[in-house]
């Protein structure tokens, strides 16, 4: 929709700019703070300009073991990245396959399955953390990548969204593919997957950020520095030393923690827009 009213444009832009600033301000402050020398930060006032330390704190974090954790930040980022990618890819795969089965196949207790999946929406990891811990411990997966990722894989939300999308496709599409000699897998790969591009891109971003920001589960299951994630380590960094926390490092690490999700959003945004611009149907 587009109205030709200059007043409306000005008002809309003012609101947008205020909103954007409100979101950006903490980020800007963190970026600025991460370039200040420790002394400036402890003085109590935060100057609104870049400090003298430049990228020194980042270099420290990335090259030297992080205090209170024991491995450099690049290792923490790698662990977080593996976890986030594992969760996002795993969730999308499982959700798509589950939705595929629910929409395109007739099998006993289909509706029942759907409602069971749907009900797990009410059981986030926080609620089931004790039994989940038990299961992961039994499997001997504590303090490992699989143990980190597996319990977070199933996603009722993504299954539900894919199901709704598949339901909008004409059933004749599958019938035409069947007549054209495509089996269930071929249909999934050749037709459903490309048609779901936009949905996949959108959900990937959401799931990646969800995985990247996981806090409670890694905190509980990960004990060694080798598998520690960035977000949980941030907390350790700030409580590790006696006296004042190293805020200059903490702010730098916060900025590091921001980077991968931002990169993912920027990359995926192209896909969204492409998907939205040439609407298929």
């Amino acid at each position: 929709m587009r109205y030709h009213r200059p007043g409306l444009d000005v008002a809309a832009h003012t609101l947008l700019i205020i909103g954007a600033l409100a979101f950006m301000l903490p980020v800007i402050l963190a970026v600025l703070a991460s370039t200040q020398s420790p002394g400036t930060l402890f003085s109590g006032t935060l100057p609104l300009s870049f400090g003298t330390s430049g990228l020194d704190h980042y270099m420290t974090l990335l090259t030297e073991p992080v205090r209170g954790v024991g491995v450099p930040a690049w290792r923490l980022m790698l662990n977080s990245l593996l976890m986030a990618l594992g969760i996002a890819v795993g969730k999308l795969t499982i959700a798509m396959l589950a939705a595929y089965a629910l929409v395109f196949f007739r099998f006993p207790f289909r509706r029942c399955c759907f409602w069971l999946i749907f009900m797990t929406l009410m059981l986030p990891i926080e609620v089931r953390i004790v039994p989940t811990y038990g299961v992961v411990a039994e499997l001997g997966l504590l303090d490992s990548y699989p143990g980190l990722v597996l319990p977070l894989l199933a996603s009722a939300t993504a299954t539900f969204l894919f199901r709704q999308f598949f339901l909008t496709l004409p059933p004749e599409l599958m019938e035409a593919a069947r007549i054209d000699g495509a089996g269930p897998w071929r249909f999934f790969i050749d037709i459903l997957l490309p048609l779901s591009r936009t949905n996949i891109a959108a959900l990937f971003v959401i799931m990646f950020i969800y995985g990247w920001n996981q806090y409670l589960w890694p905190l509980v299951t990960i004990t060694s520095a080798d598998h520690a994630t960035l977000v949980t380590s941030l907390k350790r960094l700030t409580i590790a030393t006696d006296g004042t926390p190293p805020w200059h490092l903490a702010t730098a690490m916060t900025v590091l923690a921001l980077l991968p999700p931002v990169v993912v959003i920027i990359l995926m945004q192209r896909w969204f827009i492409k998907g939205l611009v040439d609407t298929e149907k």
Binding site: L173, E175, A176, A177, R178, I179, D180, A182, R186
Partner: protein, 364 residues
Amino acid sequence: MATLELRRLRKRYAGGAEVLHDIELNIDHGEMIVVVGPSGCGKSTLLRMVAGLETISSGEIVINGECVNAQEPAERDIAMVFQNYALYPHMSVFDNLAYSLKNRRTPKDEISRRVNETAQLLDIAALLDRKPRQLSGGQRQRVAMGRAVIRQPQVFLFDEPLSNLDASLRVQMRQDIRALQKRLDITSLYVTHDQTEAMTMADRLVVMNAGRIEQIGTPMTLFRKPATRFVAGFIGSPAMNFLSGNAGDLPGWLPRVPEETTEPLTGDISIGIRPEHIALTTPNAGQIDGHIELVEPLGSESLVHVRPTGHESRLVVRHVGTEQPDAGQRTGLNLQGPFHLFDHHGQRLATRPRLADTTCSMEP
């Protein structure tokens, strides 16, 4: 080239009533069979069962002498054109056409040769790089046809392929499909609810009603000798007029119901008269007079709705010529025959009515 036989085919949907009852149909090599009937009579169900998309409750589907009940759609060597075309939206026209060949592991150069051949045949060669959404309705229809043609299947199945097109395109496409089908000589089953489409395209016509076949025959056979009252009313446009009444008690102005019926006429019967077999004359010159209630001009002819004096029901008369009678006028009606007689079950009575004059009364 193939034969297709349907033997005592039945379909019952899970938890539903039976929608097809004992369908028997034999289709010859290269024959175009058009199945026509009102909405919900089971045409699509029948087609989808032949395609293998719907399970068979009982009976057999036989292609080329081989029962295909247990075969997957792809194994039956059929091709289907859907009403909404069901083109793959994300694939170019080329890939849409090529998809079935790719799935059958056809070599690349043969695929491109056959796609180009088919595109030429259907006049869509210029569109090969486009996506379906960049095509007009008629072009999509052609691509859907191409997707069916490219594999040179044993049997073509069409489910109302033209109903999403505008009237003039529909006329064009039905000629094209007919020509293509004859040229490729592929046995076809074509479903429509449009009786003009059915009449013009069919080698033989199958009229269905409520899950049963009412009659099978060439379009003209069905038009001249409808086996049931349903077929009589369904085939021909405008629809046949029906007068019903007791056999022993028919209206005097009606041309007398024949003596030549094989059995004496009893009970309630219907007499069918096509609109083109009634002529308007000056008042008192025909068998009965009436009031013109409505005139629908169609150009070269008009449909004149006349209420015979003293009767409730209206008769539609096909009046050829550009000059139109006025509504409200009195007119004479000349009923010329042939007439079609149906018993109270709607079955045709074997007879040839003759003009005569008995007295009777007519019920609306």
